[in-house]
């Protein structure tokens, strides 16, 4: 440990870590937000994330272009999302059970197909150096931002705008809040949910590509540590608002970066404890937001858990 920042390095490392670690949270939660706004829960996004990570790495390895990898990861996610939506469109199918099935299927399929890609190294995404002005390596490393993170911010902003100002956005809200009203106006509830789930899974797949192609930047079976599931809690915490999803993702990212940041200044005791921070945060949020006496404000009316 050098550079003389000392303990100040901890918040800086947390910020840097948050910018890095939050990106998959951001994409998965925006995807989940879109899906839930249409009145369905897709718990399978964890599987989509892992599948996206594997596909992104594999495509990047074969084509030599990490950006094609990102696209491929998105489309792998989209296919899984379509699968989820088609099964849920059948009568009397529970979206949560299908989601858990999809989570196991997605991870299993990724491990199966991904075996050959554990060893070889694929070209990775490059970061934008916002800290180039500084001499401090810590500042430079903290301000190294991936373009996908910026893409995520733009996505959150455009989703926020689209839910209010576009026909598609308002149709998704309508289907998620009152399927009867949507049917009365002639919209196909199942088709809208299919689209929303597919797009949401595309986003989650892109989030997976970030894991394998930027940070940590390799493909192995321990790549995701439940980010896909935590993103579901995060959407509830964000009250189904895309911009709040961004802040919540940063918070979760910061919590996840706490352990490594403390370790970097030499605090090694309780390393695993600090690494558990995001999970503790998830639990705390679930406890704080769930109450037998209140329904969640802002929850789409058609969600099977709020009905």
């Amino acid at each position: 440990m050098d550079s003389g920042l000392g303990w100040l390095g901890v918040p800086l490392a947390v910020v840097g870590g948050a910018l890095r670690v939050s990106t998959p949270f951001l994409f998965v939660s925006l995807g989940e937000c879109l899906t839930e706004k249409s009145g369905r829960i897709n718990l399978g996004l964890e599987g989509v994330l892992v599948m996206g990570a594997m596909t992104g790495y594999a495509v990047s390895y074969y084509t030599g272009s990490p950006w094609l990898g990102v696209l491929g990861a998105g489309f792998a996610g989209l296919l899984l999302g379509v699968l989820h939506a088609l099964i849920c469109n059948l009568p009397r199918v529970n979206d949560i059970a299908v989601g858990i099935g999809l989570m196991l299927f997605g991870t299993g399929l990724a491990f199966f197909l991904g075996k050959p890609f554990v060893q070889p190294s694929a070209p990775l995404l490059h970061a934008i150096e916002f800290g180039a002005w500084s001499d401090s390596t810590q500042i430079r490393s903290a301000l190294r931002v991936n373009p996908l993170f910026i893409g995520g911010i733009l996505l959150a902003l455009s989703m926020h705008w689209a839910f209010r100002n576009t026909r598609w956005g308002m149709v998704v809200r309508m289907v998620g809040d009152s399927a009867d009203a949507a049917r009365a106006m002639g919209y196909s509830v199942n088709r809208v949910r299919l689209m929303a789930t597919a797009c949401g899974s595309f986003f989650a797949g892109v989030g997976g590509a970030f894991l394998s192609l930027y940070y940590p930047g390799s493909w192995n079976e321990g790549l995701s540590s439940g980010q896909g599931l935590m993103a579901v809690a995060l959407v509830i915490f964000a009250r189904w608002r895309p911009i709040a999803c961004f802040w919540a993702a940063l918070l979760f990212g910061g919590a996840a970066a706490l352990g490594p940041a403390l370790q970097s200044v030499g605090v090694t005791g309780g390393y695993y404890l600090f690494n558990a921070a995001p999970y503790v945060l998830t639990l705390a949020i679930m406890i704080a937001t769930c109450s037998p006496h209140r329904t969640l404000a802002g929850a789409p009316g058609e969600l099977s858990v709020t009905k």
């Binding site: 309508m174 009152s178 009316g301």
Partner: protein, 514 residues
């Protein structure tokens, strides 16, 4: 109210004729050669009991159920209406009993999204200017930025009507539009529609079973009974008695007040003091200072739905936690525990019995045994005696005329009236001390209503203290000995039935206390 004068609302009201309409569902003939003529600019009432075919008839007109035979003539030309889309194109629109507003969306969003031609990107500045201009042309106001979930029932109804005007649907069909409104709100909405019809801007076809509204607002009336048109004419030429006779045929008896209890009320059975209960959102829903109900009387609580009645009942029967206050039965604290209910003989007929008083997937027999399955004679030594459970069920099915294929059928396969009868059988077969009842006949047909009312009166006459919450004022006037009004969680008015003043009760229901 301002006069209607603008170019937006102005326009010709269409007339519609439905000639010889027949509609079958399988072997059941829902409509048999029904002819309905609604003149342009008229306010036409369609009367009939539940199941008489009123809803089916208007669904033929709006394209949900295309009829098997018959013609539909709109503005003098024969038209084929195969889908709601066809109906909309002809300017025919419907306000549903259950509102079709999206709760989380604002009024403005709801209005714009109702259009067929929503642009891919909505320019809200231009849309809002257009909406504001449109609002200036209608005789009432709504808040464009209010989310639909924050509107009162009356406001929602107005937004639904506004939506039809906005979509230029000038033939308006309303399905029991006032069932969720206070009498004052109902008068305001219906009066406004009548004025617009008189001015020739719209034509109104209203489904109702309230004679008062027909007499006060409609020009013409058509009466259906069992799928047939049994009468039609100008309202001015008909009396309510004549209409009631057409509607219910030979059974005709005007809904009259029953005698109040002949016996002197006994000792206080159910006492509620300073009860505070919260709603699902954690906000205060019930703040009742004092209710005392004696044996042998029916205490009725009137009020528009959503004023804390549901939360009050749930708190009394143990479905909802009480924040503070006390409930006593026979002078002892009552926490709605199973043991307390059995000891004090407290029984309940909650609203939506399938949801609140049944396990839908269990059989009729098992549901009928929910009160006593763990006691003699249905159980011995902690083991259920199924033979006794089924014997009890068969006896009760016969006595209460529950129509079920078998006592083993899941109770959710029964119709609403039969679920209610099955619950009634369970709750009223043993001696009852305290009976808690909420909207017991909601959505049931005439015969079921009469049977259930008889049972409630019989329980009272045998000495039970009855708490009856109902949104139907006529039901309370018919059954209750004392009537209270609940508004915003409080009891704001209380009167013996003999001294009840309808106007005063209506004002209290609308929150105008004093």
């Amino acid at each position: 109210m301002r006069p209607v004068e603008s170019a937006v609302v102005a326009g010709t009201a269409p007339g519609v004729e439905m000639l010889g309409i027949t509609k079958r569902f399988g072997s059941f003939t829902a409509l048999d050669d029904v002819t309905l003529r609604v003149a342009p600019g008229s306010f036409h009432a369609l009367l009939g009991e539940n199941g008489a075919g009123k809803s089916t008839l208007v669904k033929c007109l709006v394209g949900y159920h295309p009829p098997e035979a018959g013609q539909i003539v709109v503005e003098g030309r024969e038209r084929e209406i195969r889908s709601p889309h066809d109906a909309h194109a002809l300017g025919i629109g419907m306000v549903y009993q259950h509102f079709t507003l999206v709760p989380s969306m604002t009024v403005a969003e709801n209005l714009v999204m109702a259009r067929d031609d929503v642009p891919a990107v909505v320019n809200w500045r231009a849309e809002r200017a257009r909406l504001a201009g449109f609002l200036r042309t209608v005789p009432f106001q709504v808040r464009l930025d209010a989310p639909a979930s924050t509107l009162s029932a009356g406001e929602k109804q107005k937004v639904e009507i506004l939506k039809l005007l906005y979509l230029k649907r000038r033939f308006m069909i309303l399905d029991e539009p006032t069932s969720v409104l206070t009498p004052q709100e109902a008068d305001e909405v219906l009066g406004m529609l009548r004025d617009m019809a008189r001015a020739g801007h719209i034509t109104v076809l209203i489904i109702t079973h309230k004679f008062r509204e027909v007499m006060a607002f409609a020009d013409r009336v058509s009466v259906l009974r069992r799928g047939r048109l049994v009468g039609a004419g100008a309202v001015a030429d008909l009396s309510p008695d004549e209409m009631a006779e057409m509607m219910i045929g030979t059974r005709a008896e005007a809904p009259a007040m029953r005698e109040t209890s002949r016996r002197e009320p006994g000792e206080v059975r159910l006492a509620i003091r300073s009860l505070r209960v919260h709603d699902d959102a954690g906000l205060p829903a019930v703040e009742v200072e004092s209710i005392e109900i004696r044996g042998g009387e029916i205490f009725g609580i009137a009020g528009v739905s959503g004023n804390g009645q549901r939360e009050l009942i749930e708190a009394l029967v143990g479905q909802r936690a009480r924040v503070s206050g006390e409930v006593r039965v026979h002078g002892e604290p009552f926490g709605a525990r199973r043991r307390e209910m059995a000891r004090h003989r407290v029984f309940a007929l909650p609203e939506e019995p399938l949801r609140n008083a049944c396990v839908p997937s269990l059989s009729v027999a098992e549901n009928m045994a929910l009160r006593g399955f763990d006691r003699r004679p249905l159980a011995r030594g902690g083991v259920v005696r199924w033979r006794a459970v089924f014997a009890q069920a068969r006896a009760r099915v016969t006595e209460y005329q529950v129509k079920t294929r078998s006592p083993r059928s899941p109770i959710r396969t029964l119709s609403g009236g039969n679920v209610q009868r099955a619950v009634l059988a369970r709750e009223l077969s043993e001696p009852v001390s305290v009976l808690i009842v909420a909207n017991p006949v909601f959505g049931l047909d005439f015969a079921a209503v009469a049977a259930i009312h008889e049972r409630i009166l019989a329980a009272r006459d045998s000495g039970a203290a009855v708490l009856l919450v109902s949104e139907d004022l006529d039901e309370l006037l018919e059954l209750a000995d004392r009537i209270a009004v609940m508004f915003d969680g409080r009891i704001v008015h209380e009167t013996p039935k003999a001294a009840a003043d309808l106007g005063e009760i209506g004002r209290c229901m609308a929150g105008h206390v004093g």
